[in-house]
């Protein structure tokens, strides 16, 4: 222990730690340093992450090769169903446009999406954050909602730097999303679950929900726009000793595989 507490070594560490801690007092220093480091290292990080994703993807294919045939049949069936749905939706879209024109509703209120790449993730797993390569320069502001390319909810911007922004994922313990069940219209709040997933709270026991039902944003929190997909109901807990039902949700986004996102401006 004596060697480890060697005066020179001990003093060096203490001095550096104190200096670094004092730097936190300087307003905006950590943000500026972060912005600089992210700028320098993000291209390399993206390159490494892509190699990693491809490697992981390759091994996943090998592991799941047995299930591919069954999945293929299921997907073909789903595809047929979706094709029918698309025809219906196109017809509705046309009707919607006609009605908009008749009622003179402009399309100015439609959301503008800004694409961003994920250039960083919390490396210690302390909190569920991601870092995106869009910041003040690109017109990003705090509290803007962030979605995946499939238009499923990812989170919201909580901090904006010059060229980067920090996004709090919906799986973060501080994140609460006002949500509604698509069919039953039951409203509640979506929060983080201990195991890392999501659950919907404050649903009265009298409400009848089904597993597989889609949960979307209700827009009641004034942060997340209405009707963005959050996930599907996985399990419904109707335990007698609880005031509300506990609805476990499978998020629509695979946060581990996210590479890019869209910010709703």
């Amino acid at each position: 222990m004596a060697k480890f507490l060697d005066r020179k070594y001990f003093s060096a560490i203490i001095i550096v730690a104190v200096v670094v801690l004092l730097l936190n007092i300087v307003p905006g220093f950590s943000k500026k340093l972060g912005n600089f480091v992210f700028k320098v290292f993000s291209p390399i990080r993206i390159f490494v992450a892509r190699i990693g994703d491809k490697t992981i993807g390759f091994f996943e294919i090998i592991i799941n090769i047995k299930n591919l045939n069954r999945e293929n049949i299921e997907l073909r069936q789903q595809n047929k169903e979706l094709e029918g749905g698309i025809v219906k939706l196109k017809e509705l879209e046309r009707e919607n446009e006609e009605l908009k024109q008749a009622l003179k509703i402009s399309s100015e209120n439609q959301n503008i999406l800004e694409k961003a790449l994920i250039v960083g993730k919390d490396v210690q797993g302390i909190q569920d954050w991601i870092l995106i390569n869009r910041g003040k320069k690109h017109g990003i502001e705090k509290d803007l909602a962030v979605v995946s390319k499939e238009m499923a909810l990812v989170g919201r911007v909580v901090e904006v730097m010059d060229s980067f922004s920090k996004v709090m994922l919906i799986t973060n313990k501080d994140c609460v999303v006002a949500a509604i069940a698509e069919k039953s219209r039951a409203q509640g709040l979506v929060k983080k679950e201990e195991k890392g997933g999501l659950f919907m709270d404050f649903i009265p026991r009298t409400e009848r929900l089904e597993t597989g039902e889609r949960i979307i944003t209700s827009g009641m929190d004034k942060i997340y726009p209405k009707a963005i997909l959050i996930g599907k109901i996985e399990k419904i807990d109707l335990s007698q000793n609880q005031l509300f039902q506990k609805i476990t949700i499978i998020p629509a986004v695979d946060f581990g595989k996210l590479e890019s996102v869209f910010i709703i401006k």
Partner: protein, 155 residues
């Protein structure tokens, strides 16, 4: 030459940590290669030889934790490294697998405790999840011996 080699190695480690490991999360926990490397070095080397590792690695972890508070990982790494060194020099002198695992287990446990405690003090909204805490320790422990072996070969 050795310094250049060390810097390159640290960079490879950092990018592996930042780019790949967050994708291998179990209950939101994933291995911390920087911690495991520093603990291995604390067991294998003289403390003064790893000051750079602790400062550089700690600062990088702080920045990429997106926590807005610098210095927490440096202090946690230093304290966990001190524990690893003390245990390996005094209580577990024989470098058997079981003794190494014990040193790693205790040091990783305390690293996570220090980290949680310091983040709480700094008021950065640290979330303590028991499942995440336990998974984190054992996930890191599972990789500790391979990382130790690699560091030993490279030293």
């Amino acid at each position: 030459m050795k310094i250049i080699f060390t810097i390159i190695f640290i960079f490879i480690l950092l990018f592996f940590q930042v780019g790949i490991l967050p994708n291998l999360a179990i209950f939101n926990a994933f291995p911390n290669l920087i911690l495991l490397s520093i603990l291995s070095l604390c067991i294998l080397k003289e403390p003064r030889q790893i000051i750079g590792w602790i400062i550089f690695g700690g600062l990088f972890l702080d920045i990429y934790s997106l926590s807005d508070f610098l210095g927490i990982s440096i202090i946690s790494l230093f304290l966990a490294g001190s524990i690893a060194y003390f245990l390996s020099q005094n209580l577990f002198k024989k470098s058997t697998k079981s003794s190494l695992l014990t040193v790693f287990l205790i040091s990783i446990f305390f690293y996570n405790v220090f980290l949680a405690f310091l983040f709480k003090i700094a008021g950065t909204g640290f979330y303590f999840g028991f499942l995440n805490f336990i998974t984190n320790i054992f996930y890191n422990l599972a990789l500790s011996l391979p990382v130790f072996g690699l560091i030993k070969k490279l030293c």
